[in-house]
Each structure stands twice: as C-alpha cells, then as structure tokens.
C-alpha cells in the first residue's frame, strides 16, 4: 500500500511536471531532464532505504540513508531546476513571461 501511494504521488507529480514543461515559456534542456530524473530516482531510493532500514530495526542506518541519498537528490533536483533557467534566454524564464500581457504603459515603463 505504501508503494502504491508513492506511485500515485510520483505519477501525479510527473504528469503535472510534463504538463508544465509543455508551456513554451518554461525552459527545458536535456541535462535538466537527466538531473531531474536522477534526483527523482535518488529521492525514491532514499524513501525506500529510509523505510526499509526502520523495518530492519536499524534507525541509525535509516537516517544515514536519508542523508546519503536524500541530500544528493535535493542537490540534483535544485540543479535540475536552476541550470536550465541560468542558460535559457531571458524571455523564456518564468517571471519574465507575462511582460507581453501587461498594459502597454507598463511595458514601456519596463
């Protein structure tokens, strides 16, 4: 049941992510996907090792696993989010994407 729920969460999250990246204003790169998938895999492994180690009556190993796998997952996830934005043209970076929708007076002020 635990992994069923995790599967639903991951599936829903993946679906939402794909929907978001289909927007033309969201920058995507191949290495962003690689980093993001690696982060997701490491994150899942961290959860698996964390819960599994508790099932083995090994709380220290559980927390160490969370650190050893979860921390790289967070770092890779952050890089997956940040690097594509750093290298993408500014007009595709979220936050700048609504300029054209603003009133003409505000655009000229910008």
């Amino acid at each position: 049941m635990f992994w069923f729920i995790i599967g639903i969460i991951v599936g829903a999250g993946g679906f939402a992510l794909i929907q978001r990246t289909r927007r033309p204003d969201v920058p995507t790169t191949w290495y962003g996907w690689v980093l993001g998938i690696a982060a997701a895999v490491l994150g899942l492994l961290a959860v698996e090792a964390f819960t599994g180690s508790f099932a083995e009556l090994e709380p220290t190993a559980a927390w160490m696993s969370l650190l050893a796998l979860g921390l790289p997952a967070i770092i890779l996830g952050a890089l997956a989010w940040y690097l594509p934005r750093r290298t993408a043209p500014s007009d595709t970076v979220p936050g700048d994407d609504l300029i054209e929708d603003r009133p003409e007076s505000e655009q000229s002020a910008l």
């Binding site: 992994w3 690696a38 895999v41 490491l42 899942l44 492994l45 698996e48 090792a49 819960t51 599994g52 180690s53 099932a55 083995e56 009556l57 090994e58 709380p59 220290t60 190993a61 160490m64 696993s65 050893a68 796998l69 790289p72």
Partner: protein, 483 residues
C-alpha cells in the same frame, strides 16, 4: 598465527572507521550509477531481463531455487583446492569442538576453562548482568536442549515411513534434474533455506569424515544397503550424492552475540536440524532410496567445504560459509543418498573477494583468532584445520577458550558483524551485494559505510520486547531474492 596487526591496532582500526568525504561522494556517485539497475530488480519487476543479461547467472531453468541474479555459477570454486593434499580427517580427533579442546590444551586446562564458564554464569545471574540474567540463560538452555540432547539424529533413516517395498510398488524414478528439484521442494517445506548437491568422487569423498564425533569410523563399502554397528557406519558405494542444505539463523538475535541470547539462535537452528534431517531421510525412504544422515551435530562431513562445492556460498574470512542470500547466518548440514541428483555448481558472488578487503570480523574478534592477511593461504594454523585448500585459517583453540572464559556460550561475533549479515528490507543491501559481485572497486567503501551506518550492538534488554517472526527468521526473503 601470523597476524600483521596487534590487538591495539585492531581497536584503533575499529574506532577509526567512518565515512570520509571521499567515501560519501563515492557512494553518491556509485548510487546514481547502479541505482536504476538495482532498484528496478529489487522489487522483482524486471528480473528476467537482468537475469538473462548476467552471463552465467545462477538461475537454472526450471529450478525452484533460483539464485539472486548477480550470483554466477562457476566451474571451480573461489576457494582454491589442491585435492592431492587432502585426505579424510577424524572429526573426533582433529576438531576443537566439544571435548576436542582437551586434545590441544590438555585435560587440566579444558576443565579449568569449563569451571570458569560455570562460575561466571552463576555470578552473572546473581549480579543480574544485562544479557546474562536468568531468563537469558533459560532461553539459551531451552533453545538448544532438544537439538543437542534429545534429537532423533540418526545415520540410518528412522523407521516409520512406508517404502515402495512396503507398498508393493516400484520405487520412484526420475531424472537427476527432476529429482533435485523434487528434493529441494520437499526440504524447503521441511525447513531448509537453500539446498545444493555434490557428487561424491575420489576427491569429494575426502570431505567425508573418517571418524564421527562419537568415535565410530565412517567407511565406504561395495554393499547394497547402508549399515551401522558398534564400530563403524558404512556408506554404500552407490550412494554417490550429498544433499547439502542450509538453515537460517536470526540476524536480529545473533546481533546480541556473544552471550546466551545471541547463541540461542544457533541452538534454535540446531533444534530444527533433526526434524529436517529425519523428514528428508523419511522422504527418501518413501521414494525407495537411502538417506544417510548425521548421527550427531557436526558429523558425517565437513560442512563448509560441501557448502562451497554445492554452490551454497563462498568461504569467508572467518573460515565459515557466507551465502549470497543470508550471509553467514546459516548452519550447514548434509545427507548422503543413492537417489541420483544433478550436482549444483560452485558460485562466485564476489564474497571471498569482499573478505579480502573487509576484515571487520577479524577486527571485532575478541580472542584475536581470525586472520588479517589480505589473501587466503595454504598453511594451516593448527591440526584442527584441514589442509589442502586456501583459506583464512583461524586459531580455533583461542576461539574456543574465549567461548568458555568469556561469554560461557558459543560466541558468534564474527557472524553478527559481517557486512553480509544484513536483513533485506531495503534494496540497499542487494545493491551492495550485486555491485560487490561484479567489481571490487567499491569494497573498501562498502565496508566503511557498513560501519558508519550504525549497524552496531543491541541492548539485550530490548530483545525481550521485539516482535520477531517465528524462529526469529524471515522465510520470505528467499522468495524476494529470486529476482
């Protein structure tokens, strides 16, 4: 014994183990590299693709006992053997077990250490020492009393099961492969964990004891039926197959080694052993064949040697069998039979290679009885070792003396601290074992991680509150590992 390190060095080595930044980042990198493959196989989803891809993977077609996909069958065991140096040895005269200690230290010293054990036991009970309280000793004594004192262990099958002759029907006939699977299926139900088969030839017969623990000789004769008298036990020449099997011990309980609770799981296994043996002998009798068992614990033949040849595991630094599925947490037993059985091949799961780097058992051994040599060696340490193969031969006398003067029970620290002695609730252990089976590159890091991740000692008082499964073992893990 030639130990390159002193006891002080042991202590230092133990205490200085930890996770370096280098190891941490190696783990992260290694994890990213193998996570997808290991993770995908850990839960069984895509097992066949990996099993097929692994060259020589030990998953024989149609076998009910498929090995983990990362275990490779090999023609020669990872333990190097010189059969020319081997000859049959007497269990009674050569080993240190039981009364054998007196052969090496003298009757007086053997009695002295026995008296020390008895005195320590009483004092610890009176002192209410954690792990050595009255309830702990009661558990230990009762766990073993059936196996050690009242078990129906017999070289010849016990009467009771109807044979084909009794029924007036022909005996069972099957191919060796069919027979092997059939025996495995039955023995699994009787309580065996893994089952393998060795064919007896001029070499492997040397692993049958020349003399059993009770002093009776074990002989091969050209007779139709096995028999036993006051002096000898006779194996017919036609009984050419050895069924070698393991029984699980509880990792959780063994974590309390040394002491009565930790030793209790060994005793529980030995209490299950007579039932498995008697049932298997009866099963073979029911098929119309002979099953010749161990007349007492540790009789008939050299268990770890047969275990290696049957592919149940590899020899570890502690000079005992380490299995891919259960690590060292097994007892190994054997039955000789005339039912034709397809031999199982030795395996290479990277276990002995791992032991070359690891050395945790040697560092943790309180009697400094285990070797620190990087490579296994030909030279034995004493007469209790059987020559003719390369191993990390142990100082069995100092080990046995510690049993008596230390905990007063069998020890088992070398079993409990082994990195292979882990449960398998998390894929991480499978990933580590699978990686170690393919490359030695990360072995040192895995050892350090094992220490750093806190797989440490247990509080013996807590054990009494644990909700452990039957016999303290997980009988599902074999199925989980058949991926």
């Amino acid at each position: 014994m030639n130990h390159p390190k002193s006891a002080t060095d042991n202590e230092q080595a133990t205490h200085t183990r930890g996770v370096s930044r280098r190891d941490f980042f190696k783990l992260s990198g290694a994890t990213a590299g193998v996570a997808v493959a290991a993770g995908a196989t850990a839960k069984g989803g895509r097992s066949k693709a990996f099993a097929d891809a692994a060259n020589g993977a030990a998953s024989s077609n149609g076998s009910i006992h498929k090995r983990p996909w990362w275990v490779r069958e090999v023609d020669e065991p990872t333990t190097e053997i010189d059969w020319g140096q081997k000859s049959r040895i007497s269990e009674q005269q050569r080993t240190v077990r039981g009364p054998g200690l007196a052969n090496y230290v003298g009757e007086d010293r053997a009695e002295e250490v026995g008296a020390i054990a008895a005195e320590n036991k009483k004092q610890r009970i009176l002192d209410n020492e954690p792990g050595y309280r009255l309830r702990d000793w009661a558990f230990y004594g009762s766990a073993g009393f059936f196996g050690f004192q009242h078990a129906p262990l017999s070289f010849l099958p016990l009467e009771g099961v109807e044979s084909p002759d009794d029924l007036g029907v022909p005996r069972w006939e099957g191919t060796p492969s069919e027979n092997a699977n059939m025996v495995r299926a039955a023995m699994r139900h009787f309580g065996a964990a893994t089952v393998g088969f060795v064919e007896l030839d001029e070499n492997t017969k040397k692993l049958i004891y020349s003399q059993d623990p009770d002093g009776k000789t074990v002989e091969f004769e050209d007779v139709d039926e096995a028999y036993e008298n006051d002096d000898k036990r006779v194996i017919p020449d036609k009984a050419k197959w050895v069924i070698v099997y393991t029984m699980q011990m509880s990792e959780e309980t063994m974590r309390l080694a040394p002491g009565p609770i930790g030793a209790g799981t060994t005793s529980v296994a030995y209490a299950r052993f007579p039932q498995i043996q008697a049932s298997t002998q009866g099963f073979l009798r029911g098929l119309g064949y002979q099953g010749l068992g161990e007349s007492s614990i540790n009789a008939l033949g050299i268990a770890p040697a047969f275990g290696v040849l049957a592919g149940l595991g590899e020899m570890g630094r502690h000079n005992r069998l380490i299995t891919p599925e259960y690590g060292p947490m097994v007892r190994v037993q054997k039955i000789v039979t005339d039912l034709p059985l397809e031999p199982t091949k030795p395996i290479d799961a990277g276990i002995q290679e791992f032991c070359k780097t690891c050395k945790v058992c040697a560092e943790q051994c309180p009697s400094d009885s285990l070797s620190y040599e990087d490579e296994p060696y030909w030279n034995t340490v004493g007469e209790w070792n059987e020559p003719g193969h390369k191993a990390w031969f142990e100082d069995a006398v100092s080990c046995m003396e510690y049993w008596r003067t230390g905990p007063g029970t069998n020890c088992g620290i070398c079993f409990s601290v082994c990195p292979y002695a882990k449960k398998d609730e998390t894929f991480m252990h499978t990933m580590v074992k699978a990686t170690a089976a393919r490359t030695r590159l990360f072995n040192g890091m895995f050892t350090n991680m094992d220490q750093a991740f806190g797989y440490g000692e247990r509080d013996p008082e807590d054990w009494w509150s644990l909700d452990l499964p039957e016999y303290g073992i997980d009988t599902q893990r074999s199925a989980r590992q058949q991926v």
